[in-house]
Structures are given as structure tokens and as C-alpha cells.
């Protein structure tokens, strides 16, 4: 099954640092690119999403950067906090379903 290619698989940053997670997609028919956050024992929850007609979207400490020509998008977490420790999934979607990446486990050390 086609998947979005997500990297890195795991990431460790210090409190206050910047966390960066990258994703590459193939299907240019998709027009919706969300990031989901998942804590242990819970289902994923929508964090932030972007459409390809904009290059950047910021919500608080979370920013999505979108590069349509390179077919890549990334999540930046500024001033990372221990409470941000979770697994992050990028996804691509059209009108019906989301196709997810394999996830990045982020650990923010105090």
C-alpha cells in the first residue's frame, strides 16, 4: 500500500530545542496534508494541516512547511517541551481517505 515516506523514525531533542520531521509524497492528486500526534495508549489526534496552495502554516509552536515542487512537507516544533514527547504521523489525503507515514517517535529531554 502506498505510504508517505517519513523521517526520521525517532528523534531526541533537548527541552527548548527545535524538532523537525520530514515527509515526502508521490501522489500529486492529494490536496490535504495533516500531521497527527499520538500519545501512548491513545488514538492519533489532528495537530495541524495544510493545503498545497500555501507554503507555510503556523499554529503556536507548530509550523508546517510545504514544498510543492519537491513534493515534501515538514513539521517544525519550536521550543520543544517534554509534553511534546509523542509519536507524530504525517499523512496525505484527497476526498476520501488519509494515507499515513510510518511515524516518528519524538522524545524531548528535560
Amino acid at each position: 500500500q502506498q505510504q508517505v515516506k517519513q523521517s526520521p523514525q525517532s528523534l531526541i531533542v533537548q527541552k527548548g530545542g527545535i524538532s523537525i520531521i520530514n515527509c515526502a509524497y508521490e501522489n500529486t492528486a492529494f490536496d490535504y496534508f495533516p500531521w497527527y500526534q499520538q500519545f501512548p495508549g491513545k488514538g492519533p489526534a489532528l495537530l495541524i494541516a495544510i493545503r498545497p496552495d500555501v507554503s507555510e502554516k503556523k499554529e503556536g509552536r507548530f509550523t508546517i512547511s510545504f514544498n510543492k515542487s519537491a513534493k515534501q512537507f515538514s513539521l517544525h516544533i519550536m521550543d520543544s517541551q517534554p509534553g511534546d514527547s509523542a509519536t507524530y504521523f504525517c499523512a496525505e489525503g484527497g476526498s476520501e481517505k488519509l494515507v499515513f507515514g510510518k511515524g516518528t517517535k519524538l522524545t524531548v529531554n528535560p
Partner: protein, 115 residues
């Protein structure tokens, strides 16, 4: 309900047995999805319902897997003759309308262990 409810939260079964996993979506959400989460494999799409119809069941791994939805609400995912490779977390999600312009609301999942 307040959120997507899945039951049971944990299920341990023996190889070869059948299992049924249940999902109660958020009231009023017409679209319902099943995903499977295996270690290191991300979220694998299984099937999508719009109302009681399943326009896309392309992700079901084999004919041992089936799903239905009744009354535009509750959905059941059935796995027949379970195998060890079926062990995973099965996640259900719902959203308002048939479009993914809205966000998916996930349940906490059913952890299935096949011994």
C-alpha cells in the same frame, strides 16, 4: 457520545479463532474508517464507510477480514481464523461528512494479540 468508542480495548485470542471488534463513532459522523497500527508500520488503511456503504475496502489484507456498518452508526470489524500476523492495534475513526476536508477523530483502539 463524546468521542469515538472502541471495544474491547484489549483482546487476546488463540490462532484460528474468529474475533469481532466494535466501533461506536461520534454521533452524526457519517464517515467511518478502520486503520491498523503495527509496530514500525505506521497506520495502515483498511476500509472506509460512507453511511452503511463501503466505497473503499482496498486495504483489507485478505478475505479473512470483513467489516459492516449498520444504521449509519456502529461498525464491526471481523477477523476470521486469526493468525499471529494479525496482532496489532485496530483503530477506528470518524468524521463529519464524506470528505476529508474535516479532521478524523480516532478512538483509542483495540489491542489484538493472537497467540
Amino acid at each position: 457520545g463524546a468521542g469515538v468508542s472502541q471495544s474491547p480495548s484489549n483482546k487476546v485470542t488463540e490462532k484460528g479463532k474468529d474475533v469481532e471488534l466494535r466501533c461506536d463513532p461520534i454521533s452524526g459522523h457519517t464517515a467511518l474508517y478502520w486503520y491498523r497500527q503495527s509496530l514500525g508500520q505506521g497506520l495502515e488503511f483498511l476500509i472506509y464507510f460512507q453511511g452503511n456503504s463501503a466505497p473503499d475496502k482496498s486495504g483489507l489484507p485478505s478475505d479473512r477480514f470483513s467489516a459492516e456498518r449498520t444504521g449509519g452508526s456502529v461498525s464491526t470489524l471481523t477477523i476470521q481464523r486469526t493468525q499471529q500476523e494479525d496482532s496489532a492495534v485496530y483503530l477506528c475513526a470518524s468524521t463529519r461528512g464524506g470528505s476529508l476536508k474535516g479532521k478524523l477523530f480516532f478512538g483509542s483502539g483495540t489491542q489484538l494479540s493472537v497467540l
